[in-house]
C-alpha cells in the first residue's frame, strides 16, 4: 500500500499538501460508480437504440439537450475568463484561469459525449462537416463546438505538461514553454468561437417559426435569443466558476484563491446578469406583444398550463435574476462569501431554468389548436448518462487538482509550488 502511496506522491507537485492516496481513492470511488452506471446506460442506448429513453416523437429533445445547453452555458467561464485575462488584461483573475480551462474542458467534452449518444446515427456525425447546411443553426453549433473543444484541449495540454513527472521530459518542457506564446491567440480564437456557438445554441430555438413560444425576431439572421444566450452564458460562467472553486475549497479544506477574486467574479457576473435581465424583459415584451400575435399566438397559449405558467417568467426574472445580480454587485452583500455564493447558485439556477424553458417547455406546448399540453419524464438511462457526465467532470477536476498546479502561485513565489 505504501508503495502506491509513494508512487502517487511522486506525481503530486512538490511542496503542496494533498490528501492521502487512500482518502483520495475513497473520494473518487462513488464518482466512478456513477461514471460506470452512466457508461452502461450510454452503452444500452448505443446497442439497443434510443427507445431506451423516454423521448418520443413529440419530445424529440429531452433531458440530454437540456443538459447540453446547461453544461455549455456553465462552461462559458472558460472562454470568458481567458478573454478577461489575456485580452482585457484583468490579471487579478489569473489564479482561477487554470480552473476555468479545466471546467471548460470538462463541460465541452461532456456535452459532446452526450450528443454522440443523443443522435440516432453517431457514425454519421461527420456528415455535418461534409454536407454542411449554412442556413442551419445546428451546423454552426457543430462546427464551433468541435473547434472550440480542440481549442480547449490545446489550452489544457500545457496545464497537463506542468505535472511534476511530465515536466521531467525535456521535449515536453520545451513544448510547454513555446506553447505559452500561443495562448493569448488561442484565447482570442476561443472567445470568437464561443461567442458564436453560445449564441447559436440560443439561435437553435429562436429560428423555430413553427414554435411561436420559442420564435423571436432579431438582428439580420440572428434571433434575439442568440444574443440573450450569449449574455446569460457570460453571466453564469463566472458564477459557476466561483461555485466550482468554492466547492474545491470546501472539499479540500484549503483556501485556494483570495477573496478579491471571488468578489471580482461575482461583480462581473452580477453586472452581466442585470444587463441580461433587462434585455430579456425587453425581448419578452416584444415577443408577447408583436412577434407572437403576428402569427396568431399569445400569452394564453404559452402560460395556461400549470405549473409552466407565467410564474416561471417571474421566477426567472426576480428571484433567479435580479436578486442574485444585486447580491453579487452591492458591496453590503458582495463582501460576504455566503451571499456571494448564494447569488452564484441563484444565477446558475436562473440560467438552468431558462434552458429548461427553451428546450422542454417549447415542446410541451401545443401548436395546433386541437393538440394538448404534453408531459415528459426522462428514463433512468437518460438520468444515468447525465449523472455519468457529472461524475466524469468531478473525476477530471479532482485529478487535475491533485496532480496539476491548478491554482497559480503568488507573485515572487516558486512557480512549482502551489498556493496552499
Amino acid at each position: 500500500m505504501s508503495e502506491i502511496a509513494l508512487l502517487d506522491r511522486r506525481w503530486i507537485t512538490r511542496g503542496v499538501q494533498r490528501a492521502s492516496a487512500g482518502r483520495f481513492a475513497l473520494w473518487l470511488a462513488p464518482w466512478f460508480v456513477l461514471l460506470f452506471l452512466g457508461a452502461y446506460a450510454a452503452g444500452l442506448c448505443f446497442f439497443y437504440g434510443l427507445n431506451q429513453t423516454n423521448m418520443d416523437n413529440r419530445f424529440a429533445f429531452g433531458l440530454w439537450i437540456f443538459a447540453d445547453l446547461s453544461i455549455i452555458a456553465m462552461g462559458a467561464g472558460a472562454f470568458f475568463t481567458g478573454f478577461l485575462v489575456y485580452i482585457l488584461k484583468q490579471q487579478d483573475l489569473k489564479p482561477v484561469l487554470n480552473s476555468a480551462v479545466v471546467v471548460g474542458f470538462i463541460c465541452y467534452s461532456g456535452a459532446v459525449a452526450v450528443l454522440m449518444v443523443d443522435v440516432g446515427q453517431p457514425l454519421r456525425a461527420w456528415f455535418t462537416f461534409w454536407y454542411p447546411n449554412t442556413h442551419s443553426m445546428l451546423t454552426e453549433v457543430t462546427f464551433c463546438i468541435s473547434c472550440y473543444l480542440l481549442v480547449l484541449i490545446l489550452e489544457y495540454i500545457p496545464l497537463l505538461l506542468k505535472n511534476r513527472q511530465l515536466r521531467k521530459i525535456p521535449a515536453f518542457l520545451v513544448f510547454e514553454h513555446q506553447f505559452h506564446k500561443l495562448v493569448p491567440g488561442l484565447a482570442g480564437v476561443g472567445a470568437f468561437l464561443s461567442f458564436f456557438h453560445q449564441g447559436s445554441l440560443g439561435g437553435l430555438y429562436g429560428v423555430l417559426r413553427g414554435r411561436p413560444f420559442a420564435y423571436r425576431q432579431g438582428l439580420a439572421i440572428w434571433p434575439s435569443t442568440f444574443f440573450l444566450f450569449i449574455l446569460s452564458a457570460l453571466a453564469v460562467g463566472p458564477s459557476f466558476l466561483m461555485l466550482v472553486v468554492a466547492t474545491a475549497e470546501k472539499v479540500t479544506g484549503k483556501q485556494l484563491v483570495q477573496n478579491s477574486v471571488y468578489r471580482k467574479l461575482g461583480f462581473i457576473s452580477g453586472v452581466l446578469l442585470a444587463l441580461y435581465v433587462a434585455a430579456k424583459a425587453i425581448d419578452t415584451y416584444i415577443w408577447l406583444n408583436i412577434t407572437s400575435p403576428a402569427v396568431g399566438f399569445g400569452p394564453r397559449d404559452f402560460y395556461s398550463y400549470w405549473p409552466l405558467s407565467s410564474l416561471f417568467l417571474f421566477i426567472a426574472t426576480v428571484p433567479l435574476g435580479l436578486l442574485p445580480a444585486i447580491l453579487m454587485i452591492v458591496p453590503v452583500t458582495a463582501r460576504k462569501r455566503g451571499c456571494l455564493l448564494c447569488g452564484a447558485v441563484l444565477a446558475s439556477g436562473g440560467v438552468l431554468l431558462n434552458r429548461f424553458v427553451m428546450t422542454v417547455q417549447t415542446l410541451a406546448l401545443p401548436t395546433l389548436s386541437f393538440d394538448s399540453f404534453l408531459k415528459y419524464t426522462p428514463s433512468w438511462q437518460e438520468v444515468a448518462t447525465f449523472g455519468g457526465v457529472i461524475a466524469y467532470g468531478v473525476i477530471v477536476y479532482s485529478l487535475s487538482y491533485r496532480y496539476l498546479p491548478l491554482f497559480a502561485a503568488r507573485k515572487g513565489a516558486d512557480p512549482n509550488a502551489s498556493q496552499d
Binding site: N133, S136, R300, L368, S369, F370
Partner: protein, 252 residues
Amino acid sequence: MSARYGMVIDLDRCTGCGACMVACAAENNVPPAHSRATARTGITPMLVRRLSNGTPGADAREAFIPITCMQCGHETPCVSVCPQQAVEVDKATGIVLQMPQRCLGCRYCMTACPYHARYFNWWDPQWPPGMEQTLNPGVSVRMRGVVEKCNLCHARYHAATEKAAGAGETQIDPLDYVPACVEACPTVAILFGDLADPSDPVSIAADSPDCFRLLAQIGTDPKIHYKTTQDWIRALADRNSLRSHSPEAQHV
C-alpha cells in the same frame, strides 16, 4: 413547368376509418409496431386525429382530421434546420423530400415542425420471418435512428415519370401518380393534384372560402388544404378562424 402537388381534404367526408393510414404504411414499408411502441413513438406518416367539441351527451360532436406532412412551400421549417441537408424541396414537384440515408437522427427537424408530421425510428424495423418478401420494392427500408415522413408517395411519382419517359412523353399522366392515401379513401375525402395548375380540380377546390390551412398565419405556406362547411369543425381546427379566435389572446 414545375408542379406543386398538394391536397384538399374534405373534413365533412372523412369518417375516421383509417384506411389511408394503413395504405400509407403498406406503401412506404413502415414496419409493424414494436411491442413497446405507443401513439407517441409509433410511425404514422398519415395520421388521422380526432376533433371533438368536448361536450358530453346528446350535444357531442366529433370529426376527424387526417394529418400528414404539409409540404410547406415557404421557408420550409425542416429544410432550413437540417445540419446535413438531408431534407430538400424538390423543384419539379414541390414535395419536401427526406433522405434517410443522410439523416443523422438529431431530430432538430422534428422540433421545428409545427404539425408534428415527422416520425423517428426509435427501433430497428422488424418483420416476422418471410414477411419482408411483401415489402414494396420502390421504397427503401429505413433503419433505426433516422427520421421519416410523408413524401406524397414520391416513388409513385418516380414510376409515373419512368412510364411517361418510356412512352416518349414529357408530362406524366395524372392518373399514374396517385398517392396511396388518396387511392384508399372510401369517401373520396382527399383530392390530390397540382396546385400550380389553375385548371386542376385541386386548385379550384383550394380557392373555395370553405378551405383553410392549419397554422396558416405562421407563414409556412402548407400545400395541404382542409375544407369544411361546418362552423364548429372550422372553429376547432383553424386557429385563425374568426369564429374561434378570441381577441384577448392577441394582446398581453
